[in-house]
Symmetry: C4
Subunit: 312 residues, 4 copies
């Protein structure tokens, strides 16, 4: 029951949603940040390595918070351990108490070791032995994670907040705009856009997938912005579709980009999607470039990525 | 003497088993974890780098054990070295003896250096010089190995414990199921399945290889589970094969997967195999997905990867 | 209005300059060092990660300067913090003052901790706690950045200072020469050369792009120098072009190279361009190789990369 | 003047030897270890990064030697600096002299800092400030280099010491054998073999290159040994060539391999060559595999890689 221009069940699987896409959920398939709107259950932590993945991909501010937090927590825990060794486990440095134990823990964990306070007896020395190891491994882990974060190739492609239906060579076109938010180059960038909508099949609403032909689907270099254009011509599945129809059928445009990040020379992916309520009809993107004259250098204002203007 | 549908001797080599596949061993070719059922001899340690490879690929718990064990061992060894320097080699810190030497070794190896105990004389100071270097290199090695482990692209593809012979569009199909056990995405996943069985050639049992045509042999994204299906149609080498025949001929299904791990954007491999006794006849895989309704998010229960149910 | 041999507007985009190339700027498109002659505005620091990119790609001398500078700055800042804790915050070590605070800060930051000077009271100990963490993270960051710099695949392709228009098999050819400035090998090197000039279209000067056919556009290995040659034959857009014409039309030759760096086995890019005033007419490249005789090893003198000699 | 089966001058360049291959040197083109028999001159150290490349690619024993040597050298140099600060620059710890300065330097460089000996005065403290920084950077560099060495994808392909001219399906074949010396897998291995010999052209001996057709030029997996075979059939440039002729014409077989190293999933290269005096006529390779029976595991004896036996 495959019609021309329609993605077959086989091709649906290529998008990685398997049989589930035929379900009845009205949730979007792809979130704006490119993550799949899917939950996995039944994986043990050690198997899914979600902690590790989190440490690699979390924001830098949160990663810094985790480093500081774990440093304080380890030191507090070892301070308690020193206190549990008894009142004579530490010598020197004035008043016994949590503060002395904590600051002694700090100089042990960080391997400073002033030696003004010192461990006394077997128990305290064993705690020192453990804390020294933990401190060294903490440093090794922090360094290792920092490296892994640094050397991970990442693209940050900015997608325009909205897509537009704009005039295009006498017909209309579905358009959105992307920009490279990193100072490093992206090369060999390829784009794939798929239109999804619900259709009635035997009285049941099922999702149908339509790949959209693009005016241009790849660029060798991507130093500036790129407006990705699907002309709504005779062969387009959007031919004659109205705004109301798009809303009634829960229309969604899936965007899949791949490219090569130049600093680490590795292939990176970016995904996003536009739902029917993120599309502006009868608008076009404003110029993002300041046209240079004479001897000026070309400039692009990324802040204007989302700027659109109505068309007649 | 090549028959259509049979893999020639040339193609056998493509699987990397060389001439040995024609041997008489009834051992499986691929282990369930994807390692080759092959032993290499005659390689020196320094040449095969097996220690390094072990440190990179061993489980995290074992790696942690190696770190702790080597830390304690180095400190004990240097403690003995300090004791061998004589009774006056260390000053301060109470009772001379192994304990004092060991804990002094700890603060030297870890570069804490409280200084309550200190080295006296040339011998003890030379041991300190050596231990400081060993401690720094131990830290550098631990850190370097941690990075290398972190930055290594790895896929953990879960294979269903059994394969099934299930009804499929009026005929039967050989099917197994895989899931991505990592929270990171796998993209551009490709599957290759080869059927191996013993056949009589001139009175001798030799292995024959048959590549199996798949309903679908690649997916662009792989966020959920994927059931890999070989329809047993007219052209299938499994056409008319029974369970008993499969057992008599030591049937084995080799599975080779490649994909791109998204976090590090590198190509990864996964292999496995199903022997005749890991195939369930007349069963199908139970649904791994909870079909969403309305505004629910799609969910997949990886714990149900192995769940099969009998068919009529 | 596309003429044969002319790059269409579509193809222009492939070079990543988008619509801007049709502008009126007489600035070169590519700088000699391969960077795009383009400015991006409106990116926040955290988004463009320009600090990180700078730390990765800046020269080693400057990177070393940043390490030393930040080390001194952190120590000075914590010295001030210790002084702010009051005159009794540090004990021992002679004269109170900035020098004592600074040197105590050094032994804390670097985790030496002689303990001859020591912190007294809650405030000084909290500063120690903070400085120990900052010192550890500084070390982790320095180490992480060093790895990231080390493990980043980089090519350093030297381009001859000038290109030449040289005699070639009875006709002329546009030629330039490149050499690998690294001791590691570059493999699978591919070259693309595009000629750009202004042309009058409807009374307006617009840029036109012409890809140039090369005598050879790829090499598997690149151990020595490579002279890249575009023969100016009947089909060449340079056919009949004079030096004066090139200057009047602001001619520029864009060069795009890709290859695989062998040490890290990753794809690297190099770009450069030659403007009309960097081309020598009626010259050829001098021999860069010392032709070996008998049992001598072949040698290449990279210092002679730019050497040209006039032709009759 | 290109004859069929002969590599043209264009194709010669593909091997990266440029015009030099037409020279008169009788030196081999490729060394047995795969390095090019070429010298580059005129590159400044900073440009060629040869120190860095050396540190990355030198043997582990030599790398360890460099670490230990630099550690001792730095400590000795700073010991001299402390001595130059005057007799009162260090306090405590018994006899002043080089030994005390050296061991104090060790505890400063390694950041141990017992504090039994301590710096006195501005000069000694400034030396401490410098040494602490140098010690931290030494550790960061050592760690960074260790990582870079660890994470570098390397293949160690063993080539049989000799190639053979062996009987092959009624004709003869040029054969050599390779094995993977690493415990990690090599996948997607491709081989290219080029035959080079001197020929008289206009009274001058010039090198001619002939690519050799292989029975099989790639394998997907490479767990065991692989015998690479060029059948000397009607179309072979070796047709009718004798041992004496090969010697007179300085025959050399260049071998170029590429593959994907599985641990780091990156493309690696291996090269080697066989000269006329490294070829055994009328021999074949002995079995490297122990043929398994019943339930034994297959084993390969890498030590037998070079084993050949005469043929009738």
């Amino acid at each position: 029951m495959t019609r021309p221009g329609v993605v077959s069940e086989e091709e649906i699987r290529d998008l990685g949603f398997g049989a589930v896409v035929a379900g009845e959920s009205r949730q979007r398939l792809l979130n704006r940040d490119g993550s799949f709107n899917v939950e996995r259950r039944g994986l043990r932590l050690s198997s899914s390595l979600s902690l590790y993945h989190l440490l690699l991909t979390t924001a830098w501010t949160r990663f810094a918070g985790l480093l500081v937090g774990s440093y304080l927590l380890f030191n507090a825990a070892f301070a308690v351990a020193f206190l549990l060794c008894g009142p004579d486990a530490l010598s020197g440095g004035g008043d016994a108490g949590f503060a002395r134990a904590f600051f002694f823990s700090v100089e042990t964990f960080s391997t400073i070791g002033y030696g003004i306070v010192g461990p006394v007896g077997m128990a305290a020395n064993l705690v020192v032995t453990a804390e020294a190891l933990v401190g060294l491994l903490w440093l090794a882990l922090a360094t290792g994670l920092l490296f892994a974060r640094f050397s991970r190739p990442t693209a940050k492609v900015l997608f325009s907040r909205t897509a537009v239906i704009a005039p295009y060579h006498g017909i209309k076109a579905f358009e959105f705009r992307i920009a490279n938010a990193r100072s490093s180059q992206l090369t060999e960038v390829q784009a794939k856009v798929v239109f999804v909508r619900f259709e009635e099949v035997g009285g049941r609403a099922v999702r149908r997938f339509y790949p959209l032909a693009l005016e241009r689907d790849s660029v060798t270099f991507f130093p500036l912005a790129w407006t990705i254009v699907h002309p709504i011509d005779e062969s387009s599945p959007l031919r004659g579709v109205t705004s109301d129809e798009l809303r009634a059928r829960d229309g969604e445009f899936l965007v899949l980009l791949t490219g090569v990040e130049e600093t680490f020379a590795q292939r990176v992916h970016a995904r996003s999607s536009y739902k029917w309520d993120e599309i502006v009809w009868g608008a076009k993107f404003s110029d993002i470039l300041r046209h240079p004259r004479g001897n000026e250098v070309m400039t692009m204002d990324v802040g204007r990525l989302n700027a659109i203007e109505p068309t007649a």
